[in-house]
């Protein structure tokens, strides 16, 4: 059989565009795969020369899906640049917005994006394997999902005044206090979201996950390390704490975010705009070889569940214990990202309630003044798609002279490629494949919830490869570009 290249372009129901190229060998089996990114951004260069205090507002235009997490990571980086020690209430208001935005995003991903494959099944017709299909086949589920998304928007509007392009987190704190009346209004909505989160994981564990356990045990499986954020007591946190980098064997090291360059190296690959970070502190180099990966770690929901010692909220802790009893620590099965996503959702909803029940949340001491200075500042949060790092350097006037962003999807670039390869090797045999098999390969990517528009900011002036056709010995037969 002649060598053949299968291209899935674009991979859908992810945020942005990607293209998967699967090269078959003479025997019709998978020889190699690549996940290419076909958008570019150039954001870091754009930032240079701009006042640092504008950054939290500008970064919300990087991404329409998780603007809040960029907004908060940027505000934290600015705090560090200006040397600001923000008031406790200001921090709690930021955390509240983080949790509200996070719950909305996890609901979006589980039910609207990756969830469609599970709820409708990977073999369902393409036309119904989406949230419209979910709503039509499960109208009550659809209503609950929409209601909670709506509540998330309402809560953010009340707390911050603006849910789509937020402006309320500022260097030095938060710009709008929460009144007692507003808190009382929001807390009712938050309680409803919490009840939904508890229902969602219970429903998924009984109605969804058991049906697809075979897929969970076979699709996209790789063995890697993990990265996430933990508080000093080892519990998971989405807003602050040390970054924990865990090796595949479960051992780990914790570090402050401004030391990330001591632990992570960013590699540029010739076939992708998306940089590839790897764990340089492990001292083993970088390799995406499925049998012997080197320096590979993952972020996002499963990583957060793996690296933390415990959850600080009761229901999430109970769910974590059940999850670990079933899958161990660290759990490596890629599709478990979706299960972990719901545990993250429960935590976030519980933490949202804790913050709202804290009397300090309505304090008016929420901001301190800041002064420009020449400095470097790093801020990070756990965005839905993984650990999000903003790193700014300013001159004496507070103007940005250098900016570096590592977004969640970028951390997962190498493991996504590896999972695609593993899935393709498992599911494509003797040159035979169907739409269902190809969608299952896409499922391996969707589990990571990638957001490639944010991730692609490595601009070098050329367009990425769109289709590459390789011969059996690896020689380039043809290259088709955008």
């Amino acid at each position: 059989m002649a060598p053949k290249t299968i291209t899935i372009a674009p991979v859908s129901r992810i945020e942005g565009h990607a293209k998967v190229t699967i090269q078959l060998g003479d025997d019709g089996n998978v020889k190699d795969t690549w996940m290419n990114v076909v958008e570019l951004r150039g954001f870091e260069k754009f930032c240079e020369g701009r006042p640092a205090e504008e950054m939290p507002r500008i970064v919300t235009s990087i991404c329409g899906v998780c603007p809040w997490h960029h907004h908060l990571a940027s505000a934290k980086a600015c705090d560090a640049v200006f040397g600001a020690n923000i008031p406790s209430a200001g921090k709690k208001l930021r955390q509240l917005c983080q949790e509200i935005a996070y719950t909305s995003d996890e609901i979006l991903h589980f039910f609207f994006l990756a969830g469609a494959d599970f709820v409708m099944g990977p073999g369902a017709d393409y036309a119904v394997r989406n949230v419209i299909g979910i709503v039509q086949s499960n109208p009550e589920v659809g209503k609950k999902v929409v209601r909670c998304r709506h509540l998330g928007t309402q809560m953010l509007n009340i707390v911050s005044g603006k849910s789509i392009h937020p402006v309320t987190a500022v260097p030095g704190g938060f710009s709008k206090p929460l009144t007692i009346k507003e808190r009382d209004e929001v807390i009712k909505m938050a309680e409803e979201v919490l009840q939904f989160a508890k229902w969602a994981i219970s429903w998924a564990k009984t109605e969804i996950f058991p049906k697809y356990l075979d897929a969970v045990k076979t699709v996209g499986i790789i063995k890697t390390g993990f990265m996430g954020t933990v508080k000093d007591d080892g519990s998971m946190d989405l807003y602050e704490g040390k970054i924990r980098l865990m090796k595949p064997d479960g051992t780990y090291e914790d570090f402050d975010d401004d030391k990330y360059t001591d632990y992570i190296e960013e590699k540029v690959l010739p076939w992708s705009y998306l940089k590839v970070p790897y764990a340089k502190s492990w001292g083993e180099g970088f390799s995406m070889d499925l049998d012997s990966p080197k320096g590979i770690y993952r972020t996002n929901t499963l990583a957060r569940i793996n690296v933390c010692d415990k959850m600080s909220t009761p229901c999430a802790q109970k769910e974590l214990e059940e999850f670990r009893k079933n899958f161990g620590r660290p759990a490596q099965l890629t599709l478990l990202y979706n299960w972990a996503r719901l545990i993250n959702l429960v935590y976030s909803a519980e933490h949202m309630m804790e913050l709202l029940n804290d009397p300090e949340i309505t304090s008016k001491e929420i901001r301190v003044p800041v002064k420009p200075r020449a400095a470097r500042g790093v801020g990070h949060v756990e965005a839905p798609r993984g650990t999000l790092i903003h790193d700014y350097t300013t001159d004496a006037d507070g103007m940005i002279t250098r900016a570096n962003l590592i977004v969640g999807t970028t951390h997962n670039n190498a493991p996504m490629n590896m999972s695609v390869k593993q899935a393709a090797k498992t599911l494509i045999k003797d040159g035979n494949y169907t739409e269902q098999i190809l969608n299952t390969v896409e499922m391996a990517i969707r589990a990571y919830d990638p957001c490639l528009s944010c991730a692609t900011h490595n601009l070098d002036g050329t367009l990425p490869v769109k289709i590459t056709i390789l011969g059996p010995d690896g020689e380039v037969k043809d290259v088709l570009t955008n």
Binding site: S12, L40, G64, L108, V131
Partner: protein, 157 residues
């Protein structure tokens, strides 16, 4: 929910792609928006926004989408309406949330009784590298598009 929603879609950091947000900002700053309508700069968040509208029990009567759409037969700055049937269905329309409004979402809206209007502007330049600001020819079209939208779709007759 308001009866009429006008949504400005696009990224203000990519040149003329910021046309939609520029129009909604202009409308809000220069026109008295009727009480039964809302004019929103949804920027990059259009898909999530439209999706939530689509799945809501109470939907608006009319949704007006404003976006920069390149068309081979148009001149830069030209304002034109795009029939929904002319939007090409692509696999990327598979309910992702990062691109412009997806044609399948808009068609679902239409099929659920919502009047969907798409007002487009032919961009002169959507740069590959982030660059703020509209080209002068597209900037000049912002008031024209605003007037058209206000008189035809917003003003109470």
């Amino acid at each position: 929910m308001e009866e009429i929603l006008v949504l400005g879609c696009g990224n203000i950091l990519y040149g003329d792609d910021g046309f939609g947000p520029a129009v909604t900002d202009y409308l809000n700053a220069n026109y008295k928006i009727p009480k039964n309508a809302s004019v929103v700069n949804v920027g990059l968040a259009s898909r999530g926004f439209i999706f939530d509208i689509l799945l809501s029990e109470k939907r608006p009567r009319r949704v007006v989408i404003i976006d920069a759409i390149a068309h081979s037969d148009r001149k830069a700055g030209e304002i034109f309406e795009v029939p929904l049937s002319n939007l090409v269905k692509e696999k990327v329309d598979d309910f992702s949330f990062h691109q412009g409004p997806a044609s399948n979402m808009l068609k679902e809206l239409r099929d659920n009784g919502v009047e969907v209007i798409i007002i487009a502007c032919q961009p002169e330049n959507i740069p590959r590298e982030m660059t703020c600001g509209l080209s002068s020819v597209v900037q000049n079209s912002v008031p024209k598009a605003s007037e058209l939208i206000y008189n035809k779709y917003l003003r109470v007759h």
